[in-house]
């Protein structure tokens, strides 16, 4: 017989905690999904705007990016939820305010990623598209973006994990996410060591899930423009790939040098 991990029949604290944590986990996933859709929807146009030929368009993009990267998510969240209603008389729903704050914040970081990836597409590609008489839209849509997209994915993966982590802040404005449920359980007397360990574990599993999905997307995107997908193990897996130690394997026999002639350390610097 298999027992669902969310079942209340699990022994001890697990049975007590898991039904609530699963409920919270669903909210956390929803917030992550909502936030990432909003962030990507903002990042693409703003990232392209930041490279516009028109100074005014560029300025709008830069102001947005600097503004949201310059303050912390928590302050933005508080401001949207508690301060803005006083100024505008318009109270946002708490989950909506949360997703909005996360999306705006991560969208600003994402714009920088988009900008960097588009800039890293080699110049020849752009020149070739011009030579083939592509319109600026077609140039971007069929030549530059498909290639830039591959480069965006690894940094986007990191940003999505940052987003997942930032959703824990929604608990502060009483959105019933994973962290909120965990705190509630601890306050009502569950073993806090186990509850917090479960919280961390669930967040870690979600991060890993994001990495797996992004790796899959990266492989598909790379094959669509005729390149090999990512190689080796996931980028954010247990151990990041590391080049071999740059020390030659041949042991150099140590030679006794009279101390007076020992090369000074200064010379080696």
């Amino acid at each position: 017989m298999t027992i669902s991990p969310c079942s209340a029949e699990l022994p001890g604290t697990f049975g007590e905690a898991m039904p609530f944590l699963c409920k919270g986990a669903v909210i956390t996933l929803q917030a992550t999904l909502g936030g990432s859709v909003l962030a990507i929807a903002i990042a693409l146009p703003v990232g392209l705007m930041a490279m516009s030929h028109r100074g005014a368009v560029r300025a709008v993009a830069r102001v947005y990016m600097e503004f949201f990267r310059g303050t912390s998510v928590l302050v933005q969240l508080f401001w949207l939820y508690y301060a803005m209603p006083i100024l505008t008389g318009f109270q946002l729903d708490k989950s909506f305010a949360g997703i909005l704050a996360l999306g705006l914040n991560l969208g600003a970081y994402g714009s920088e990623v988009v900008r960097g990836a588009v800039r890293s597409v080699s110049r020849g590609q752009r020149e070739a598209a011009i030579a083939l008489n592509f319109s600026p839209y077609h140039r971007m849509r069929y030549v530059i973006l498909p290639q830039a997209f591959i480069g965006m994915i690894p940094p986007m993966n990191n940003l999505l994990i940052e987003l997942l982590k930032a959703t824990s802040l929604l608990s502060v404005i009483t959105v019933a996410d994973l962290t909120y449920q965990g705190r509630l359980l601890v306050n009502s007397g569950s073993d806090q060591l186990i509850v917090f360990a479960l919280l961390l574990l669930i967040y870690f599993l979600f991060s890993y899930l994001i990495t797996l999905i992004m790796r899959f997307v990266e492989g598909r995107a790379a094959r669509m423009v005729g390149r090999d997908g990512p190689q080796g193990r996931p980028r954010r897996a247990w151990r990041s790939p590391r080049p071999r130690r740059p020390v030659p394997s041949v042991e150099i026999p140590s030679v006794e040098i009279p101390s007076a002639e020992t090369p000074s350390v200064e010379g080696a610097r």
Binding site: L74, V75, A83, I86, F196, L200, Y203, W238, V247, P263
Partner: protein, 217 residues
């Protein structure tokens, strides 16, 4: 008038002295811990002994993949059960430092990998002892390469420090929340706190960008 200027003038000095002091302490404390710990972690992860490098890497990956807020709760609520008693600010500094050590260790790793192979070979040819190669040849170059990225993480730590207000540290944001809850009016204190973060973070990031260009990487 929606905006209450009188009240703003009243709370501004308090926010900018008392609150700022705590924010600066948390940021600098967390950053120093993250920079020092990150270096040791980067060295441990390069260890030849897989029983050292693998577990250290796994723990750091775990810390990097889980929210700072939950980690702060663990340090704040669970550690006292094991007889470790600290002030909330101290707890926050340790939480920030540990969390960001997992990021800075990657920065140092990249910096160490970026030291040209010839430097290693020259140091070995000069018959320098191993620890001396690290201390006087590799690390000075690696740390120099890492400086701009570390500067970015200093700014990141500064921006994440408001999370400490959730574990009752009274920093700029904690104070703003306290002041706001007195009148149940968050507009002025939160806006002032947000502007204050902007005023520090934007010049700082411009400075880091300039540093990046000067160090040429």
């Amino acid at each position: 008038m929606i905006w209450d200027w009188d009240w703003t003038r009243e709370i501004l000095p308090e926010l900018l002295t008392q609150g700022l002091l705590v924010t600066v302490q948390a940021t600098l404390g967390g950053a120093v811990l993250a920079f020092v710990l990150g270096l040791f972690v980067a060295l441990l992860r390069r260890s030849r002994n897989p029983f050292v490098s693998r577990p250290v890497g796994a723990v750091m990956e775990f810390i990097r993949s889980t929210p700072l807020l939950v980690q702060l709760f663990v340090v704040y609520y669970v550690l006292p059960d094991f007889g470790v008693k600290m002030t909330a600010l101290m707890t926050g500094i340790i939480g920030l430092g540990l969390h960001y050590a997992s990021y800075t260790s990657e920065v140092y790793r990249a910096g160490i990998d970026g030291v040209p192979k010839g430097q290693w070979e020259a140091a070995i040819a000069l018959n320098l002892p191993r620890h001396w190669i690290w201390i006087s040849v590799v690390l000075p170059q690696a740390v120099r390469r890492s400086l701009p990225a570390l500067g970015n993480y200093l700014i990141a730590i500064f921006k994440e420090s408001p999370q400490l207000s959730i574990i009752t540290v009274v920093d700029v944001v904690g104070l703003a929340r306290e002041l706001g809850s007195e009148r149940f009016r968050y507009l002025e204190p939160m806006t002032v706190a947000g502007l204050f973060f902007l005023l520090v973070a934007i010049p700082a990031s411009i400075f880091v960008r300039r540093l990046e260009r000067r160090l040429g990487n």
